[in-house]
């Protein structure tokens, strides 16, 4: 079988001294798509932030191993440059910084860290044009300040644009589908599907199974109160849709 890309081992995470995740085990192999589902407040975002290395999220025990090495000590930017990408549930605005400028700086920071040649202006322009078209993002949005005044859907599509341009090895998407209408959802799904490859893995956090109609996961996990309550194939998502989360709470 393919080798593990991400191994989360008995992970405990606390915020401000309160433990939120109580021992998560999860292995994602190269090329796999995993979905994490769960009610609000179950710890889904916490898991994504811990993977990305948010300084407010303290790993109190357990480990996160990426490409065979623990990344607990790695800075967020080092994790990013190693190929971990997080599409945020609530993308922030950066006033006065153009989307295009920001994205080029990010791409070149990552390339530099990996010892690759930086993208020239022309190369970058060609790349972003292609990806923007894929994500149905018009040129005006590229020149505006990062996320400033963007609609909810535009912000989410902008996250996937960044994903497409940065082409990470592990893409973690935190509720990218929330608040999207069906057309936007399809656009996002098309974008994600076009990026699927045997080397690239996805962790999709979602509240609804509807996204999973468009992006077929290999595995589905249900998070409940900071623990994985159940794992299964994509049929688990349908079962959840049918029975609701309460069904799982009873079994735990």
């Amino acid at each position: 079988m393919s080798k593990p890309l991400l191994e989360i081992k008995d992970l405990h995470v606390a915020i401000d001294g309160t433990e939120i995740l109580h021992g998560i085990d999860l292995t994602i192999n190269a090329g796999e798509v995993h979905a994490i589902m769960g009610t609000n407040g179950s710890g889904k975002s916490t898991l994504t932030k811990a993977i990305a290395g948010h300084p407010d999220y303290t790993v109190t025990s357990g480990d996160i191993v990426y490409e065979g090495k623990s990344i607990l000590e790695a800075e967020p930017e080092d994790r990013a440059c190693a190929g971990i990408f997080l599409a945020f549930q609530y993308p922030v605005e950066i006033p006065g910084v153009s989307n295009m400028y920001f994205l080029r700086a990010a791409l070149n920071a990552q390339r530099k860290a990996r010892g690759e040649a930086e993208a020239s202006g022309a190369e970058f322009l060609a790349l972003i044009k292609e990806k923007a078209k894929l994500m149905d993002i018009d040129a005006g949005l590229l020149n505006r300040s990062v996320n400033e005044g963007f609609s909810g859907g535009e912000k989410k599509r902008n996250e996937i644009l960044q994903l497409a341009v940065l082409a990470p090895t592990l893409a973690v998407l935190d509720e990218t589908d929330s608040g999207l209408d069906i057309d936007a959802l399809k656009t996002v799904a098309t974008g994600v599907n076009s990026l699927r490859s045997p080397e690239r893995s996805f962790l999709l956090v979602t509240h609804y199974q509807r996204l999973l109609n468009h992006i077929q996961p290999d595995f589905v996990h249900v998070l409940l109160d900071g623990r994985i309550a159940k794992s299964g194939g994509k049929e688990l998502a349908l079962e959840l849709e049918d029975k609701g989360y309460a069904w799982l709470e009873q079994t735990v």
Binding site: A52, H54, E75, C81, P95, F102, A105, A109, Q110
Partner: protein
Amino acid sequence: MSNETIQSLADQEYKHGWTSNIDADQLPPGLNESVVRAISAKKKEPEWLLEWRLKAYRHWLTMTEPTWQKPTYPKIDYQGIIYYSAPKKKKEVTSLDEVDPELLETFEKLGISLDEQKRLTGVAVDAVFDSVSVKTTFREELSKQGIIFCSFSEAVTDHPDLVRKHLGSVVPYTDNFFATLNSAVFSDGSFCYIPPGVRCPMELSTYFRINSAGTGQFERTLLIADEGAYVSYLEGCTAPQRDENQLHAAVVELVALKGGHIKYSTVQNWYPGDKDGKGGVFNFVTKRGIAHENAKVSWTQVETGSAITWKYPSCILKGDNSVGEFYSVAVTRDYQMADTGTKMIHIGKNTKSTIISKGISGGHGDQSYRGLVKIMKGASGARNYSACDSLLLGDKCGAHTFPYIESHNASAVIEHEASTSKISDEQVFFLRQRGLSEEDAVSMIVNGFCKDVLSELPMEFAVEAQKLLGLKLEGAVG
């Protein structure tokens, strides 16, 4: 201009912490009438100018140092200051070969090699080293269009009528404690005159440096845009690291005659003192412009240096339909203090002013925006728009806004907006998640915050400003 252009060129280190060893021809420390006379004599000044200096000196004796500002500083010993110092010259300098090699090296360390400047940028540079102008370039080319760009001393000799007519016309010798002191003892500076209808074809720039230990700097700059003329002028400073405080009390006067337009840009990076606030320059400057009918005076400043920055580049909107603008970025960190802002005095009808002020504070830095918008009785239809935004990089720094509005004409429209924000951890994390280092993330957020001001700067200064902001903020967040 775009952030991208700025960033792509901005990548150098602050390396200006050194002192050069050129023997200075200088007066002993101290101030009295004979010192004022000696300065004037050394510069072979005409009688009227000596008289003007002496009037200023005598007036200064009757004044007391102001105390209303927010920053406090140790008492300045005015008798301990050396009021005149000139680099030793072998003879009159006509080419770079004749300039003291160490002096040239000094310029090179600053990255302002005159030849390079000439060849690459097309910027005319009037370099002031200590108190005497060493070299003026491009003057011939400018003079073909009737533009005069020279040191203040040369202007006194070669264009006495222009100097006499305008000197003190915007900042009178009685104006304020530091401007009056400057009027008595000013060393040198720049002079520029653009004749009617001429658009100056290049950005004019001056680099000031403080050098000989204990030498106060009393620069005097006078720019005149005659009717319908335009000039963009750049001023940049950087100072060597040293232990004692250095007073820098410059005066800049701008005269924009009917339909004239003067754009004055500053990037200020004087030595700010060490981590504990020891040493550093006191930057107490008086800058003011007068705009006659249909004229425009624009100030853009990026203030990143000095232990204390205390200045209010101002506009007197005397003529009908005249316009005043003030765009400012001020950065304070460690123990730096800044009390800066502007005054817009609306006298003419339909006068318009815009104030955009961005204050960034980190460490124990403290800054105040102080702005006066004054609408006189006759200024019907006057308009002002002010926006003052502060960005805090930590919780030990401070930002204060003191807007003063005085309106004596009911038809005036005055808008004022102010905001204070903290740099958000989520913004920083977002950028780091995309691969930027924490410092680059902060720098990007701050440069975005300042964009409306940076975009007012001419290209080469925007680059320098961006660079300085990045350098200033290294390790300032926390």
